[in-house]
Amino acid sequence: MLEIKNLHARIAEDGTEIIRGLNLTVKAGEVAAIMGPNGSGKSTLSYILSGREDYEVTEGDILYNGESILELDPAERAAKGIFLAFQYPVEIPGVATMQFLKVAMNEQRKARGEAELTTPDFMRRVKDAAAELKIAPEMLRRPLNVGFSGGEKKRAEILQMSLLEPKLCVLDETDSGLDIDALKIVADGVNALRSPDRAVIVITHYQRLLDYIVPDTVHVLYKGQVIKSGDKTLAHELEANGYADIIGAAA
């Protein structure tokens, strides 16, 4: 589903290279965890996958279902099924949450040539998905992410994900700032989306989230490269021994 080949990317503004020859393949149905110390390029990778303009790809390619997505803007990528759950969801005062959800769902449907949702159908979908994630209706009446607690913001991201039904989900440190109850709710939400035709990339610092979202593969990112890949036992190894051994072995 996703094939990243020898990717090099830098910050557009100052030219700092962050991703330096990254290779990664994620198959449909797979849950891939990406771990690594601070500054290794994890969040940058998530932004590059979703098409943020602040980064420039200088070499290599990203293939999604066999096609390069480098020329597509974030909205086009989203319509093709790529979803980024933000580490820091953005507050937008003046945009009502419900209006945002409706516009996003319908714009994606339009881009795919599907009919727009009727209002009752839309309302029903939101109500059902919100109940699953224990999101109170009051929260949906507020402006987008405004006044949401850290946990509420993360749950709102998962709500968007379940409503938009993407094919490639990228979760950028979705566990940060969550207490254990919120973590379980979020993990249940993600697990409910696991399916043979959908891939999930979980970016995280900690093993903890991976106890709840059990990955098929684990990749260690360091200085903009994948320096080691393995199965879920690799995450336990990292938890026990830290990154130093693996970094040392790769150097």
Partner: protein
């Protein structure tokens, strides 16, 4: 005083003087009214239209900007519109003439032409000061409007819409309104062009809130792309009076809206919210003064501007705090979303504080679309142009939502969305 005796009159100045000579014979008014009109026009002839050398008009050089003034056009026929908010009571002024069939339950109502005819309207026909060009022109030419008297305790169930429509020529209207003690009401003052011909419009509202009155007053200006609109609202606030004053400019070619508030009752609160949607070649000026004259009063002023194309915007905001007006709390902010390199905005905040135990502040920002917000919306599949429109709308919708009156909020959001649809 801006003495320009012996100056050469501009085309617009000449047109106004000639229009007065033609119109005065048939403008309503008794001897006192006629005398007041004559004083105003003679002051106008002496001072002329203000230039940038007049401090109060520094950013709106009316003499240079006002190129022509259309003659009165009694044959111009404008259409009445359905109210902005469904279920409102509408008082209509079409082409400068009040529709006498209007009535509002519980409110004493007269047309301003009646007040002029019997001389009671003469009292307000004065300029506020030597730079009050709007008061001067309006007072000299005013033909009609409504005099509204809300008896103490009136609680208006539905909004009252004062609607002026025109599509050519000149119209000059006036709306004195007195709100008795503890009156609760929402008034929408709506000025709309129903045609494309250039029109010259002046309008003055003179409102006073007695003790405990709680009023929402919305000025919605939606004139045509060739129109000049000179508006003024004079406000007096009594003890514990609350006024939410919304000024929304979404039209016109040359616009100046003045807001002058006298805070004369302790415990009173003014919330001024301004939205200026500017596009094309519009020049739009909002000039605000508030005098906090007694202790323990509050005011907040939030102005949001969205500017496209080659439009120019001006906000002048002056907060004066009198020597014994201790514990005044006044905060003013002016935020501008500048969406074109050729657009221009000038903000002039002024604080004149003569009391020592007060909180007063002001701030002005000029911003572009927030790129992180734009990315977030696009990352959810919303195409760039639509995402931008949502963010522009959000910038102004935020302050409309403060009204907490669902039908009114929806109606105003509809006006904003329609404007953005046309201009963005």
């Amino acid at each position: 005083m801006n003495m320009q005796t012996g100056m050469k009159l501009s085309v617009a100045e000449t047109a106004l003087c000639e229009a007065y000579d033609h119109a005065i014979g048939e403008l309503p008014g008794d001897g006192a009214v006629l005398a007041a009109r004559d004083i105003l026009i003679s002051d106008f002839k002496e001072a002329g239209l203000p230039t940038r050398r007049v401090e109060a008009w520094h950013y709106t050089d009316l003499k240079a900007l006002l190129r022509a003034v259309p003659a009165f056009d009694p044959a111009a026929s404008a259409a009445k519109l359905a109210p902005l908010v469904e279920g409102s009571t509408v008082l209509s002024v079409v082409n400068g003439v009040a529709d006498t069939r209007g009535s509002v339950e519980g409110v004493t109502l007269r047309t301003f032409s009646e007040a002029l005819a019997d001389g009671s309207g003469a009292e307000g026909l004065t300029a506020r000061d030597s730079d009050d060009t709007i008061g001067r022109i309006n007072g000299a030419f005013v033909r009609d409007g409504f005099v509204l008297d809300f008896p103490a305790g009136t609680d208006l169930a539905a909004p009252l819409e004062i609607q002026t429509t025109q599509n050519a020529g000149q119209t000059h209207t006036r709306f004195p309104a007195t709100f008795g003690a503890n009156v609760k009401a929402t008034v929408i003052e709506r000025h709309v062009a129903t045609g494309e011909n250039p029109a010259f419009v002046t309008t003055v509202s003179d409102i006073s809130l007695s003790d405990g009155a709680d009023i929402t007053w919305v000025i919605l200006q939606g004139q045509g792309a060739a129109d000049t609109h000179l508006g003024q609202i004079r406000v007096t606030l009594g003890t514990d009076a609350k006024l939410r004053l919304y000024v929304i400019n979404a039209g016109g070619k040359l616009v100046r809206q003045e807001i002058h508030v006298v805070v004369s009752g302790e415990g009173s609160d003014l919330k001024l919210r301004g939205i200026n949607l500017l596009g094309g070649e519009t020049h739009n000026d909002v000039t605000f003064t508030v005098g906090h004259n007694v202790p323990h009063t509050t005011s907040t002023e939030v102005i949001r501007n969205v500017i496209f194309d080659r439009a120019r915007g001006v906000f002048q905001g002056q907060i004066r705090v009198a020597p014994d007006a201790q514990k005044t709390d006044a905060k003013m902010s002016c935020n501008t979303l500048l969406l074109s390199d050729e657009a221009d905005f000038s903000a002039k905040p002024e604080l004149e504080i003569f009391a020592d135990d007060v909180q007063c502040g002001h701030g002005a920002t000029v911003i572009d679309i927030d790129h992180v917000q734009l990315f977030y919306l696009m990352a959810r599949g919303i195409p760039e142009n639509k995402a931008r429109a949502m963010l522009v709308n959000a910038f102004v919708a935020e302050i409309v939502e403060e009204l907490e009156d669902e039908p009114l909020v929806e109606a105003l959001e509809g006006v904003i969305a329609a404007w953005l649809e046309k201009h963005a």
